[in-house]
Point group: C2
Chain length 209, copies 2
C-alpha cells in the first residue's frame, strides 16, 4: 500500500499516538481496498476476496471496518469531520445569508481537496454509481446536520430556518461532490460555488430566465 | 389486521387485479408489522418474532418484504409514487420559482395526508428515531430526484439548477415530514409551507432578520 495525502474530508486526527497509528493504517487499508472495489466491481467482490487481495484476513478486515460499505467510504470521508466548528468560527459579514455561511464553511473545510488522482476520482465515481454506497454517504452527511444547525443558530438564525438550511445546504454539497466526481466541474470549489448559485437562483422566477 | 385508508405517500396502484390484491395485502401486513415494531422497539425485534406476532411465517414475510427495514417503511411510503408526473402537469405561473413549483407539487401530492391516527404518527416517529430507517427513507427520497429534475427542466429550468433545486427541495420535504411527525407542526401541509419559507429566507441577510 502506498501512503498518500488525505485528499477528501480531512478528519480531525485522534490525539493519542496509538490511536493515530491505527487510524493511519485504517486509511491506507481503505485506499487499497477501494482500488480492489473499483477494479473488480463493488457488488461483485466479497469481503473475504477483497481482504485476500490486499493481503489481510477477513478477521483483520472486521477489526478495522464494520462492513464492506464502511471500508469503501472510509477512504473518502473522515468520520470525525465537524463542519459545525468551522461554521461557528466564521466572522459574520453584514450581507451573509444561511447559504453564504454554509458555502464558506464547505469551501474552507474542503480547501485541501482538488489534488485527487484519477484513481481517487474513480473511487468517488464508484460510490456515486453504487446505490448502497450512495445511501450511506447521504446518511453520513445527514449526521453532520445537527452541528451545522447549532452553528447557524449561534450566528443568529432562527432554529427552524437553520435546520432546513443545513439540510438543503448538505444536499447542495452532495451535488457538488457528484459533479466534481463525474468531471462536470474542474474543481470541488467551483462545483460548490455553482451548487450554491443554484440554490439562490431557485428562488427567482423561472420565466425571467 | 384492520383495513385503513392510505394515509401517507399514496402510491400509484398497480393495474392488474391480482397485483392490486397483493399490494393491498402487503400494505395491511406492513401496518400490522409496524405496530409490532413501535410496541417492541424496531432494533429489539427480529424478523421471525415480528412475523410470529402478526401470524405469518418468516417465509411469508420474505415473500412480501426484502428486509425488516423494507417492512417498516412500506406502510408510510408507496414505492411507486411519482412526484415528477405531478410537477410536469402543473401550469407555470408568471412568478413561479423552483421552490414554489416543488412546494405546490408536494402539497398537491400529499393533500390526502393529515388524517393520520396517533398510531400512524408513532410509526413515523419511530422511523425518524431509528438511524437505519431514516437512512433508507432518505435514500428512497433521493430516488425521486431524477423525475423531479426532469419535470423542472420541462418547465424551462436549466438542468444543473433543476438538479440542485430538486435535491434541496427533497431535503425540505424531509424536514416537513419530520416536523409533522414530531408534532412540531399541526399538519403536513403547514410543515411544508414552513420548510419552503425557510428555503426562501435562507438567501436573505441574517443581520436583517
Amino acid at each position: 500500500m502506498r501512503p498518500s495525502p488525505k485528499w477528501c474530508y480531512a478528519g480531525a486526527m485522534p490525539t493519542r499516538v496509538r490511536d493515530r497509528s491505527r487510524e493511519m493504517f485504517r486509511e491506507r487499508l481503505a485506499e487499497a481496498l477501494s482500488e480492489v472495489f473499483v477494479a473488480r466491481g463493488f457488488d461483485d467482490v466479497t469481503v473475504a476476496e477483497a481482504a485476500r487481495a490486499v493481503g489481510i484476513s477477513r478477521a483483520t478486515f472486521f477489526r478495522y471496518f464494520s462492513s464492506k460499505e464502511d471500508a469503501a467510504l472510509a477512504s473518502v470521508e473522515g468520520s470525525n469531520f465537524d463542519f459545525g466548528a468551522v461554521l461557528a468560527d466564521l466572522d459574520l459579514r453584514p450581507d451573509d445569508s444561511c447559504w453564504s455561511l454554509l458555502q464558506r464553511t464547505f469551501r474552507h473545510s474542503l480547501a485541501g481537496v482538488g489534488g485527487a488522482t484519477s484513481s481517487q476520482l474513480d473511487q468517488l465515481r464508484m460510490i456515486h454509481a453504487t446505490p448502497s454506497l450512495r445511501a450511506r454517504l447521504s446518511f453520513r452527511r445527514l449526521q453532520l446536520e445537527p452541528s451545522l444547525t447549532a452553528a447557524l443558530v449561534g450566528h443568529g438564525v432562527p432554529a427552524d430556518r437553520a435546520h432546513t438550511a443545513a439540510m438543503a445546504g448538505l444536499a447542495a454539497l452532495e451535488v457538488a461532490w457528484e459533479r466534481w466526481a463525474l468531471h462536470e466541474s474542474p474543481s470541488l470549489a467551483r462545483a460548490l460555488d455553482e451548487a450554491f448559485a443554484d440554490l439562490t437562483a431557485a428562488d427567482k422566477p423561472i420565466s425571467a430566465g
